[in-house]
């Protein structure tokens, strides 16, 4: 890669080579002699930021007043207000209208019958897409009903719907604001970057502190999590409105509101719909995590099963989330696709009437036949014993080989690498990374990555951070080693494109926690399970970008290579690889980001790094350490992002084109 990135010419090249070769070696040599505070920061130098943040937040949530009103009262009022629509939706979908409790319990109206909901959704799928999606919707619905997950699923759906609506509205508003004011955009982008890289667990606790345990705390945390992609999508979508179309708005004398409502938003709708799809997926991703702070439903089922070590039940409920996710994902994707290809008028007025009938008739029937309202418990299926049996079978019969793989990897690769990173003096590591920043992106990049690293140093999380880096580097390397070649191979076989794309899409709809289950089933707790889970989660972007990189190579260039007599390997080495390098580097970047976001989830299986710090402080209710450790994870992510993005930009500059 070095020969592509660096092309010597004159003084600049001399300076670059100097930065490339001599300095790193000198620093490496110096590390052998670095001792004392430059190798390990003494305790007195650590800034007790965690205490300050914790104290500050506690004060804010309990004591602070704004204009004589306690912040705590405001947030509790917000929580109550948010709970109302969730309750209405639950009444509609899951519980029915009930008054009183115990013996006085009265059913006034039943919830919408499962049959009606499934049929109406299938009709929607049929109209928007076709028979395939309608069938998929039926199957997913049937799974939820027959496995006795319907009530939980509808509770989840109620909060998902509300989260999506809130995130959509807020995201749109913020996106429009950022689009109109460059100053706001700079601020928002910085905040969003941090929000996207700070692990979710970090802000669960502050939300708990402010809103109390319950569905509304889960709602707020989820909205915070799902907001950044919507803001991003809104800004991009509005920017994509052609200049001529905006001129049209001015020439026809549109007011600001008319321009926004009649021109910009409608023209941007296809891209906004892609944002909607992302919000839905992010929200579903949060379902399990949100159940830790009081969202019920499927997420809670999974969590409870995990705590009981009942893998079978956890797996079933997890697949319930997947069923919900796949249907919602496909529906929103199809809607986005229809928007961008100009397929309209698919849903007619008659269809609305049919859908209402489909909803009302089974619901009315459920007054007479209770099975239409709630699937009787006695009729539910379960495969949990089978899965539990399979796990114990594997563990009984393959314990030896599995354990051998685990131990060999741990002792041979993982532990030595971790020890090496932990032994490296922080000053040398910071210098080396800053140097890499200088070589790739110049002085500014060097400066900002150094600052980010120093934040980790002074807050006292250096060692935990190095443990995180070790897990991330290993799992990214493994994911890339498997994913990139596979993606490149697939790109050469057009017939495989669609099936692989479908598998990748489905993998991305799985909630992160689902990846942990098989790893833990087979390899028990510990770093090795975490590694497997992270790799299997982060492999999707590696494959995706491997395919995309190769697809973006201009066909003329390949033809030129072939006509110059290149062998297939030479075409790859001299034409395809250089052309796709920027995309491939962005793929590495995406893989790193995915790995980091999984890292914190992987803390559940007992790793010892930043993610664990975040998770334990959540469990102990310590706000400060949770947030600061989370910020440290964000710092690692931002450093990797800065280095890899400038690397991609450099590669693209040589290429003369950026296809990002």
């Amino acid at each position: 890669m070095a020969d592509i990135l660096a092309r010597p010419d004159g003084v600049a090249a001399w300076r670059r080579n100097w930065a490339h070769a001599v300095l790193p070696l000198a620093i490496l040599a110096a590390t052998l002699f670095i001792q004392g505070p430059l190798a390990h920061l003494p305790d007195w130098a650590v800034v007790p930021l965690a205490d300050w943040v914790g104290g500050g937040l506690n004060w804010f949530a309990r004591e602070a007043t704004i204009g004589g009103v306690k912040v705590a009262d405001i947030t509790r009022a917000l929580a109550t207000a948010a709970e109302m629509p969730i309750d209405w939706l639950k009444v509609l979908l899951a519980e029915g209208w009930v008054t009183g409790a115990g013996f006085n319990k009265m059913h006034i109206a039943p919830p919408l019958s499962w049959l009606g909901v499934i049929l109406a959704t299938s009709l929607l799928a049929l109209r928007l897409s076709g028979r395939g999606l309608a069938l998929l919707t039926l199957l997913a619905g049937a799974y939820l009903v027959f496995f006795g997950l319907w009530l939980s699923a509808m509770t989840t759906l109620a909060s998902v719907v509300l989260c999506v609506i809130t995130a959509l509205a807020l995201g749109l508003a913020m996106g429009i604001w950022a689009y109109r004011s460059p100053g706001a955009e700079a601020v928002l982008r910085a905040v969003m970057n941090i929000m996207q890289t700070v692990p979710v667990f970090s802000y669960l606790l502050p939300t708990l502190l402010l809103f109390g345990y319950g569905p509304s705390a889960a709602l707020f945390a989820t909205v915070v999590y799902a907001l950044p992609p919507m803001v991003h999508a809104t800004v991009l979508a509005l920017r994509s409105v052609p200049a001529e179309t905006l001129e049209l708005a001015r020439m026809t004398g549109c007011s600001r509101a008319q321009t926004l409502l009649k021109v910009e938003l409608p023209v941007a709708t296809p891209r906004l719909a892609i944002g909607l799809n992302q919000v839905v997926m992010m929200t579903l991703n949060m379902v399990i995590i949100a159940s830790m702070i009081g969202a019920g439903g499927l997420g809670y089922d999974v969590l409870r099963a995990l705590r009981r070590l009942d893998f079978g039940a956890g797996f079933e409920a997890g697949m319930g989330i997947v069923a919900l996710a796949v249907v919602l994902d496909r529906l929103t994707q199809v809607a986005a696709h229809n928007q961008s290809t100009g397929r309209r008028g698919l849903w007619k007025r008659r269809d609305t009437a049919i859908a209402v009938l489909l909803l009302l008739v089974p619901t009315a029937a459920s007054l007479a036949v209770p099975a239409f309202a709630t699937w009787p418990d006695g009729w539910t299926l379960t495969t949990a014993p089978f899965w539990n049996g399979a796990v114990s079978f594997i563990n009984q019969n393959f314990y030896g080989p599995l354990e051998a793989i685990r131990t060999a990897t741990l002792l041979g690769v993982m532990n030595p690498f971790r020890d090496l990173l932990l032994a490296a003096p922080w000053s040398a590591v910071v210098l080396l990374v800053a140097l890499a920043g200088y070589a790739l992106g110049g002085l500014r990049t060097a400066f900002s990555v150094a600052l980010l690293m120093l934040f980790i140093v002074v807050t006292g999380y250096w060692e935990a951070a190095m443990s995180s880096v070790y897990l991330t580097v290993l799992s990214v390397a493994l994911a890339l080693a498997i994913g990139l070649p596979f993606g490149i191979w697939v790109s050469a076989h057009p017939r495989l494109h669609q099936p692989v794309q479908l598998v990748l899409d489905t993998l991305q709809t799985l909630p992160t926690l689902v990846y942990l289950l098989p790893a833990v089933m087979l390899f028990r707790n510990g770093d090795f399970s975490a590694l497997i889970a992270i790799v299997s989660y982060a492999i999707a972007p590696a494959v995706r970008y491997g395919m995309a990189g190769m697809a973006h190579v201009p066909s003329e260039r390949i033809e030129a290579g072939i006509m110059s007599g290149c062998t297939p390997w030479q075409t790859f080495r001299f034409v395809r690889l250089p052309s796709s390098l920027p995309t491939l580097i962005l793929g590495i970047n995406q893989t790193v980001m995915m790995a980091l976001s999984m890292l914190v989830i992987a803390a559940l299986v007992g790793t010892r790094e930043l993610g664990q710090e975040v998770y334990t402080s959540l469990a102990r209710g310590e706000t400060g350490p949770g947030i600061v450790a989370g910020l440290c994870v964000a710092c690692i992510a931002l450093v990797a992002d800065a280095l890899l993005k400038s690397g991609a930009a450099r590669a693209a500059r040589h290429e003369g084109a950026v296809h990002v």
């Binding site: 001529e244 001015r250 026809t252 004398g253 709708t269």
Partner: protein
């Protein structure tokens, strides 16, 4: 085509009342462009521009367009023609200068009167059509009226009228994505005329279309102009198109207008080498009019009558069959001079 030229000879243009006037319009890009605009007009020179490291997209554009005239701004890409058009409509704020509509400077207008001016008196056609993909043909054409708050029924009735005029009747329920490029631009044309504007701006309207469709739409523009004469500013990079449509053409090079004149003037008397190279391929017979070659009324001996404002190539059949000089008549049919056949044939042969 000849009907459209009834109104076009250059003398008639001069006689028209001025509808739109640009006076020393500059559009300068770069750091410190504002300061350059504050300089006195005499200090705004290409040298000053270069020394301040500014880019002059439009430099000192000055011209008058008569009411009902078709004024074509023509130049290669990057010559500043589209920027000049946008300065005229104030889609781009000029750095300096005046743009007068019926004597009133649009650059001094506040937001409200400007919006009012654009709503009531201007229409614009865009290079890439700028149709709203979420609206049907009807919705697109009715859009300018809808923005003004015209009642829906009235707006749609007017829109249907225009859709019929541009030949898209029966397609008003389609979405833009379901139309061909030529049909889409017909929608664009219909939309720009919904409000029945006095000023019609067309920004390279046909350059995204293939040649046959382009010819159809040029004819369409001429036909619309004939039925309802508007003051037209038409930007193009295609000289053939310019000659076919224009009363007068302004040729731009590197931000400057190098010559303004009728097609005939440009071809027969190019002002600079640049214009000469530009028009070299144009056969003079296409642009030279009978009136330019007309001799005094000699009396007797004429064989056929030709119109004074016809081009030589238009009267080619008469020239071939005639045996002696031809009579030249004005639109009223009175003979006003005679045309020497040899001289006309020489023009017809030149550059052919």
């Amino acid at each position: 085509m000849s009907e459209a030229h009834l109104i076009s000879p250059s003398k008639a243009v001069e006689a028209r009342p001025v509808a739109l006037e640009a006076k020393g319009v500059w559009k300068v890009f770069g750091h410190g462009a504002g300061a350059f605009g504050q300089l006195p007009a005499s200090a705004r020179t290409p040298e000053a521009l270069a020394s301040a490291k500014l880019v002059g997209a439009v430099q000192d554009a000055t011209f008058r367009i008569g009411r009902g005239e078709v004024f074509v701004i023509m130049g290669l890409s990057g010559s500043g023609k589209s920027t000049l058009l946008r300065c005229l409509t104030r889609l781009i704020e000029p750095t300096a200068g005046e743009v007068r509509y019926d004597g009133a400077d649009i650059l001094k207008l506040g937001d409200k009167p400007l919006v009012e001016l654009r709503r009531r008196r201007m229409g614009m056609v865009f290079q890439h059509f700028a149709l709203l993909p979420n609206r049907t043909v009807l919705g697109n054409v009715a859009f300018p009226l809808e923005v003004q708050g015209t009642p829906r029924a009235e707006a749609e009735a007017r829109a249907l009228e225009l859709i019929e005029t541009v030949g898209l009747k029966g397609r008003e329920g389609r979405f833009p994505a379901e139309l061909s490029g030529g049909q889409q631009q017909r929608v664009g044309i219909a939309r720009s005329l919904t409000t029945n504007p006095e000023f019609w701006f067309l920004d390279e309207p046909f350059s995204a279309l293939d040649p046959l469709i382009r010819a159809d739409l040029q004819a369409e523009v001429l036909r619309l102009q004939k039925t309802h004469t508007r003051t037209v500013v038409f930007v193009t990079h295609d000289l053939d198109e310019a000659i076919r449509i224009a009363d007068r053409i302004a040729i731009m090079e590197g931000g400057r207008i190098v010559q303004i004149g009728t097609p005939e003037e440009l071809v027969t008397r190019p002002a600079t080498d640049y214009v000469r190279r530009f028009v070299a391929k144009v056969s003079p017979a296409r642009v030279v009019r009978v009136s330019s070659l007309m001799g005094p009324f000699g009396g007797g001996g004429v064989t056929a009558a030709v119109k004074a404002d016809a081009t030589i190539s238009e009267i080619a059949p008469e020239l071939v069959t005639a045996t002696g000089p031809l009579a030249v008549v004005d639109p009223g049919g009175r003979q006003i001079g005679s045309l020497d056949r040899q001289r006309a044939l020489a023009t017809l042969a030149a550059g052919a």
